[in-house]
């Protein structure tokens, strides 16, 4: 496969053709904020946190779905990018009911960590305070739609790692939400294999092990990567 040369933040980089800007940056040790990206599953560019500037392109592009090109000049950090990332985060917080202090993922939440790292100290938008429920019908897991950011990681691992196809997205706009099978209580799902990959994939406290209390929901993302690597490369290796 042909290699492409480009610069990211002024640093000359060589990346394989077909690689994303996010992959190229990661290999070069340049950290770009992400939320919907999850190692082991394909990217969808849903959260817009990995937006980067590309010279010659007026609009901002998501690093996770933009392929590298010869001579590309990418900027991952600028006042403009920081501004848009904060806006994106604030909108995510305003859209649902995120109460970190009492959340099962407090201290282990990617949304919370991003808010800290991007200097989000308040939300300028009016909170929508939507009325979303909690589905605790499953024997092992719970789903709190109040904390969901619609990253669709759970949908992607369910379809493309487990292969069960239980999780899906329904609705439009602010009424978009994650469903189980044909929008039935999770506990009544025929297709769910109870594997828990969706729970491991969730970046916030939306999916949780039942019985988890404040801050107890720690995830082991390495397990997903382990499974995908084993399947695709026939290598059974753990991260450490």
């Amino acid at each position: 496969m042909a290699a492409k040369t480009l610069t990211i933040d002024g640093k000359p980089i060589t990346a394989e053709e077909g690689a994303t800007v996010l992959q190229a940056a990661d290999e070069a040790g340049i950290k770009i904020p992400t939320l919907c990206h999850l190692d082991g599953v394909y990217d969808v560019g849903a959260c817009r946190l990995c937006l980067v500037e590309v010279t010659g392109v007026a609009k901002l592009l998501p690093a996770c779905t933009t392929r590298v090109a010869e001579g590309m000049e990418v900027k991952t950090d600028s006042e403009r990018l920081r501004k848009y990332r904060r806006i994106t985060l604030e909108l995510l917080f305003a859209e649902r009911n995120h109460v970190c202090a009492v959340c099962v993922a407090n201290g282990h939440c990617e949304l919370q960590t991003l808010a800290y790292s991007q200097g989000m100290d308040h939300v300028r938008y009016e909170y929508l305070f939507p009325k979303w429920g909690v589905d605790t019908t499953h024997r092992l897991f719970g789903m709190d739609h109040n904390r969901c950011v619609l990253c669709t990681r759970c949908v992607r691992v369910c379809w493309h790692v487990e292969g069960a196809g239980t999780k899906n997205v329904a609705g439009r706009g602010t009424r978009s939400h994650i469903i189980t099978d044909l929008a039935m209580p999770w506990g009544e799902s025929d297709s769910c294999t109870q594997c828990g990959k969706c729970v491991q994939a969730c970046p916030t406290g939306a999916l949780f092990h039942k019985g988890s209390t404040t801050g107890e929901m720690e995830r082991d993302r390495g397990k997903l990567e382990f499974i995908v690597t084993a399947r695709e490369k026939k290598q059974w290796v753990t991260a450490d």
């Binding site: 202090a101 009492v102 909690v134």
Partner: protein, 487 residues
């Protein structure tokens, strides 16, 4: 509540708003008659929190994380009552180590909260004097006049807070107790830290008790008029009548000291406790159901716990309890003696903490029982520093809350606080007060009547912030003749 009515056109009302050095926001209304004497009083809580409502729909297991946010002073009380309500929904007996650890944290909570009430909030009144100018009548004034005492008091509170932190990882709002048990155990290093601090805590408590006895000699008038009236008393007691703070069953006694109901299952508190609602306050007024409202007035908290129990179960506190019991004929009925009761409870807590330090079971590592939803309703009752706390949850089959009822100590003392304020005001505010000039030290005595109960309005109305004070003088036609606001 026996609010005065109808009033004559010349009668008046005094309002103290906000009330200071308590936790939360409140005001006091003093109703004056035609002659300008105090006819009645009302203590209003003017903040509303709404926890009972907005928790509906949440998983019950989250409640020990949510409900401690009601209050920064006694979050542990809510934590423990909430976890216990969860135990009841799961229908489990928690591991013995977990029970002892919860108890240890509650003892730490009692020590820190009582130390705060005694040294920081109340002692400035009776140690510095009612007439001390208001800007100095606080813990800083106490530091200025008696540095060693103030420092020791602050350190005693810190000791209780450290126990909470050692167990729960943080002093305020530890997410530690959970339905089924607790999340982490006691480390040998933590135990050693507690053990090493105990001698200092004992010394401070003994000094405070000695100081209190001198205070009682010079404050006989306060003992007589600061909330000295007959009422029922309620608290948890062990099966043999020993003082309890986390387990046991409910006991009611009357002011003669007779037991009128005993070994009542806290799960069925609603069979003996009714809740009355007043339009003038966000604070509900629970009462003893068999006697009706307002005749079923009862007090909870340190004074009540010492009245209902037969012994503390530990030697130093038991010696003090004997002296305490001599202060009443039957029950000790003066709310000014809540302060004494608090010190005795600190002593008892220290002795129980010391026992746990040599109890090998408390170092166990089996800490959490597991179960599904086995009861659709569960009640958690625990003795908060201010009195018995009930968390009553009703859930659906999936463990989502359908109904939440929180009965807190301050609510249960509401009727008694009204009577206390009226009694003090009647004694100090004589005819002519309606002209609008009430000396500040006099208002402070009225406020102190409230402080005796160490009320927590944040908890009781599920309110935020510190408690400033607002007193209104109210005419019979409802117009406010005079007002004093501070805070």
């Amino acid at each position: 509540m026996s609010r005065m009515s109808p009033m004559s056109p010349t009668a008046k009302r005094i309002v103290i708003d906000p009330v200071t050095r308590i936790e939360g926001h409140a005001k006091i209304s003093l109703f004056l008659d035609d002659a300008g004497n105090v006819a009645d009083a009302e203590f209003h809580v003017v903040e509303f929190r709404g926890f009972e409502k907005f928790c509906e729909g949440r998983p019950y297991g989250e409640m020990p994380g949510i409900t401690p946010r009601i209050c920064g002073i006694c979050p542990v009380s809510h934590l423990l009552a909430s976890a216990k309500a969860g135990d009841a929904i799961m229908a489990v007996n928690i591991p013995p180590t977990a029970d002892k650890l919860r108890r240890l944290m509650n003892l730490g909570q009692i020590v820190q909260s009582h130390a705060l009430s005694f040294f920081h909030l109340s002692a400035p009144d009776f140690l510095l004097g009612w007439e001390t100018p208001q800007p100095q009548r606080n813990v800083f004034g106490l530091i200025g006049s008696n540095k060693d005492l103030a420092r020791a008091g602050i350190r005693l509170r810190q000791f209780g807070q450290e126990i909470i932190e050692i167990l729960g990882g943080q002093k305020v709002h530890p997410a530690w107790a959970v339905p089924g048990g607790v999340r982490s155990g006691l480390s040998p290093e933590g135990r050693e830290r507690i053990r090493l601090w105990l001698p200092e805590a004992y010394a401070t408590t003994e000094a405070a008790l000695a100081l209190w006895k001198k205070t009682m000699e010079t404050h006989q008038r306060e003992v007589q008029i600061f909330g000295n009236f007959p009422s029922l008393f309620m608290g948890l007691v062990a099966e043999d009548g020993t003082w309890e703070h986390h387990g046991g069953k409910l006991r009611f006694t009357d002011s003669s000291g007779s037991i009128i109901a005993d070994q009542l299952d806290p799960q069925k508190y609603y069979e003996v406790i009714g809740e009355s609602v007043q339009t003038s306050s966000y604070l509900k007024s629970p009462y003893y159901l068999p006697m009706g409202f307002p005749a079923g007035i009862y007090r909870v908290g340190p004074l009540a716990r010492l009245n209902v129990c037969e012994r503390m179960g530990v030697p130093k506190a038991d010696a003090e309890l004997k002296l305490f019991k001599k202060l009443g004929r039957g029950a000790v009925t003066s709310s000014f003696l809540y302060h004494y009761a608090r010190l005795i409870e600190i002593m008892a807590s220290l002795e129980y903490i010391e026992r746990y330090m040599s109890d090998s079971e408390i170092m166990g590592d089996y800490l959490r029982a597991d179960a599904g939803i086995n009861n659709l309703r569960g009640v958690g009752a625990s003795e908060a520093p201010r009195g018995t706390l009930f968390h009553d949850y009703t859930v659906d089959r999936n463990g989502l809350l359908k109904k939440v009822n929180l009965i807190v100590a301050t609510g249960q003392n509401n009727l008694a606080m009204n009577q206390t304020v009226a009694q003090i005001a009647r004694h100090y505010i004589k005819s002519g007060a309606g002209n609008g000039t009430i000396p500040e030290p006099l208002l402070n005595r009225v406020e102190h009547g409230i402080r005796c109960y160490d009320p927590c309005l944040s908890c009781s109305t599920h309110a935020v912030g510190q408690m400033p004070m607002h007193v209104q003088l109210i005419a019979p036609d409802g117009s406010v003749v005079s007002e004093v606001t501070r805070g």
